[in-house]
Amino acid sequence: MQPETRLTADMFRPVTDNFKDAEKIERPSISYRADVWRRLKLNKLAMAGLFIIIVLVIMAIIGPMISGYTYYKQDFTARNLRPSAEHWFGTDSSGRDIFTRIWYGARISLFIGVMAAFIDFVIGVIYGGISGLKGGRVDNIMMRIAEVLYSVPYLLMVILLMVIIGPGLWTIIMAMTLTGWIPMARLVRGQVLQLKEQEYVQASIALGADAKWILMKHILPNTMGLILVNVTLTVPTAIFAEATLSFLGLGIPAPRASWGTMANDALVSLLIGNAYQLFIPGFFISLTMFAFNVLGDGMRDALDPRMRK
């Protein structure tokens, strides 16, 4: 270094005038919910799933209305017709229009799935919430009871119920929710146990809040994400289970149709060369399962702060 050159303060100029700016957070401030939604939107697969679900719901509503046929009218002169301009999905072995039946069946299958998930949700939250909040002995016993119920073979319970009450839409839903609420209950309970220790919750309790208040105001909002994921993934399980029940002859009684009963009825159609009668409901079952699953996965990823990009 040259001895003549000395560094003086006026040789340097600060980059910014305000030091505070150096600490500035570059990303815009954003609420948790909005952030989750934003990340979800970035997940193309999940968005595809959501889109499919929306389309399915719309079609379930308007489908049977636009086809010009009813789901129950049998026309024996028009049996087993391939898809055509008159029957967009063809007809089944009793001459009923498959397009109408698919969308009518969509109503039933989606209804069962959503209802089952919803009831699981309500029961699960209440049970898990109470169990977690009470803690100790009560919690122990409640969880044991849940475990026992979970251990009774699902199918046996469902069949017993179907026989005692008789087959029907609500019987199926009830049968499915018999043990379906347990995972939700466990989840909520786990959350409760965790959040119970938080100071704001303890403050609430100290101020005299009752269980219902705690659940609604503190637990639920924080657990909502997980719950939603669980619900989204329960719907396909229920639809799947309903299909299996149909196979065992415990499905929706005729002439109403669900995708499960349509697929089951069409097994023999495959054998005699009318494969389309089987593949169409099968395709829709798979599509719905796919959509709900990727949406649920996407939501789970979006909720997980560790995967933030």
């Binding site: 024996f76 049996r79 009793s94 026989v163 008789g166 002859g249 009684p253 005729a254 023999v268 005699i272």
Partner: protein
């Protein structure tokens, strides 16, 4: 820790892989001999037999294989291609009957042997029949033997004292007069008695074997029979194998080396097994398959007559089915042809009476032809009758009711079609109730239903098999309908030894029941099955599953 875990995991996986190398095969009960290379026929029994002891049968899952293992005093001899037959002597060479047709004396052939070499005597018959009637045996089909004097009293007795019970047994009127002579006395003259003794409840049982080992029928190793085949293997719920019985009295007529029976319940799978070559005969077939094969005129597809009626029961104790006009209206308002052509698809005939086609009347014609149709399909008339009937019951419209059926695809489709027809033609609301078979039976007994699906496959070729169901004392009635005049005609028929009088009484009875319509006939069955083209000699009597004993594989 992690390393040992992964080692353990791999070991477990290896173990599993090793397991997959093993084939099936567990609980085998093989008997000596029984190599079945060559001409073995393979069929599907749909279900595991509950028992193969003649006294302990419950249904067709037992009787089909059993008919190939045993033979009775008489047997059915095929005549022609359509399942016609005549009853000829089997174990019995000849027989006499008394004037009043109530006493039969059977004379057995010489040299009859069981499959284990034991001589077969008349005592084996007496023993078997009395064993089936013994209340402690708890035989489901003992009632088949009630034609014999003393049988019903013995079988329904609640007597616990062994001496008193034995006394009752001795009163049963079947006696082995000597080794080759069997005398039977009947309650009523029964024209179809000779066909009846070819029935499985009347099969003989090896007395010596039974007395030594009461469980002989549970195991192929100890199984002894007298029919065209003998049992060599019984893997429960998996399959049965039988081979030709060299001690059979007509062994030279048996061309098959053996029969293999699978036990696959799912009818779609059974059909696929036939198509992939695992089975040689497929019966029964899914309805749609029948339609397709019929349409294609497939060479391995056959339809033969069956002496059976498909009908719906009305619960006559429940309004508005208490009213005969309502019942008639419902019966007239459906299109039977639509059902037989589009759903059952097997060439079945619409039914307008109870007794199916296939039995002979006194003038040689078919009973059904003589009796004729009892009603017609007529929608306008039906509407009228329905309105009148409802008014009589004090109702202004038809309440919603349910058709109860057991869970089979065919029954479901038929019920759906009828539901739709009634809605269309009569403007009424009908629901469908699908229940398990057991539940349906139970509810029918309790009269806890509205309309219930039914079918009756004859036990023997005579109209009485249908008519007997609906007497006021019959446990199969299940409609709540009773008629003194009906009972009177049936009793008259049973007690008369004059064929003309008898037939007339039966026709009169059918008039009565069809006038009242406690049941709604829909169609008369046919039997549709597929058989590989290189097999001949399969014989299909109208009241049985296909008989394979004379089959030959080319």
């Amino acid at each position: 820790m992690k390393k040992s875990f992964s080692i353990m995991l791999s070991l477990v996986l290896l173990l599993m892989l090793a397991l997959t190398g093993c084939g099936g095969g567990n609980g085998e009960k093989k008997a000596a001999g029984g190599n079945t290379e060559g001409k073995v026929m393979r069929v599907n029994n749909s279900s595991e037999p509950g028992s193969l002891h003649p006294a302990k049968l419950q249904g067709t899952h037992e009787s089909w294989p059993l008919r190939h293992l045993f033979v009775g005093l008489t047997m059915k001899e095929p005549k022609g291609d359509n399942g016609e037959f005549e009853v000829v002597g089997a174990m019995a060479e000849k027989w006499d009957s008394s004037e009043d047709k109530k006493t039969y004396t059977f004379h057995l052939r010489n040299g009859l042997k069981w499959s284990n070499g034991d001589p077969l005597t008349a005592e084996d018959f007496e023993f078997a029949w009395k064993y089936a009637l013994n209340p402690n045996t708890a035989s489901d089909y003992a009632y088949q033997l009630y034609y014999i004097q003393g049988a019903e009293e013995y079988n329904s007795s609640k007597e616990k004292d062994p001496a008193k019970l034995k006394a009752l047994e001795d009163k049963v009127a079947v006696k082995a007069k000597d080794e080759k002579t069997l005398e039977v006395r009947l309650v009523n003259p029964t024209p179809y008695f000779l066909e009846l003794v070819s029935f499985y409840t009347y099969y003989p049982v090896n007395k010596k074997v039974q007395e030594q080992n009461k469980d002989w029928a549970n195991d192929a190793k100890t199984f002894v029979s007298n029919g065209p085949f003998k049992l060599t293997e019984w893997k429960h719920k998996e399959g049965l194998k039988m081979v030709k019985n060299e001690n059979y009295f007509q062994k030279d007529r048996i061309k098959l080396a053996g029969i293999d029976w699978a036990m696959v319940e799912d009818e779609n799978t059974a059909w696929q097994m036939y198509r992939s070559g695992q089975l040689d005969l497929s019966y029964p077939l899914p309805g749609d398959v029948v339609g397709q094969l019929k349409g294609q005129n497939a060479p391995d597809f056959k339809i033969v007559p069956e002496y059976a009626t498909y009908f719906y029961r009305f619960n006559t104790q429940k309004k508005p089915f208490t009213n005969v006009k309502v019942r008639k209206a419902l019966a007239m308002a459906i299109e039977r042809k639509t059902i037989t052509e589009n759903i059952t698809q097997g060439g079945q005939k619409p039914a307008f009476a109870l007794v199916a086609e296939g039995s002979e009347d006194t003038n040689g014609e078919d009973f059904r032809k003589v009796g004729g149709d009892y009603f017609k399909e007529d929608i306008a008339e039906a509407k009228k009758l329905l309105a009148e009937g409802l008014k009589e019951e004090g109702m202004d419209k038809m309440p919603k009711f349910n058709i109860m059926y057991n869970n089979l695809d065919l029954h479901k489709r038929i019920a759906e079609a009828i539901q739709e027809m009634w809605r269309n033609n009569l403007g009424i609301e009908v629901g469908l109730e699908n229940v398990e078979f057991q539940v349906k039976i139970d509810r029918e007994h309790k009269l806890d239903y509205d309309v219930s699906r039914a079918g009756w496959i004859a036990d023997f070729i005579d109209p009485m098999t249908f008519m007997d169901m609906f007497t006021s004392v019959s446990t199969q009635n299940d409609t709540g309908w009773k008629s003194k005049s009906y009972d009177a005609e049936i009793n008259k028929a049973k007690q008369s030894s004059d064929v003309k009088v008898r037939m007339e009484a039966i026709h009169k009875a059918e008039d009565i029941i069809m006038k009242d319509m406690p049941i709604m006939p829909i169609y008369f069955y046919t039997k549709a099955y597929t058989l590989k083209e290189n097999i001949t000699g399969v014989f299909t009597p109208p009241d049985e599953y296909p008989e394979l004993k004379y089959a030959e594989i080319k």
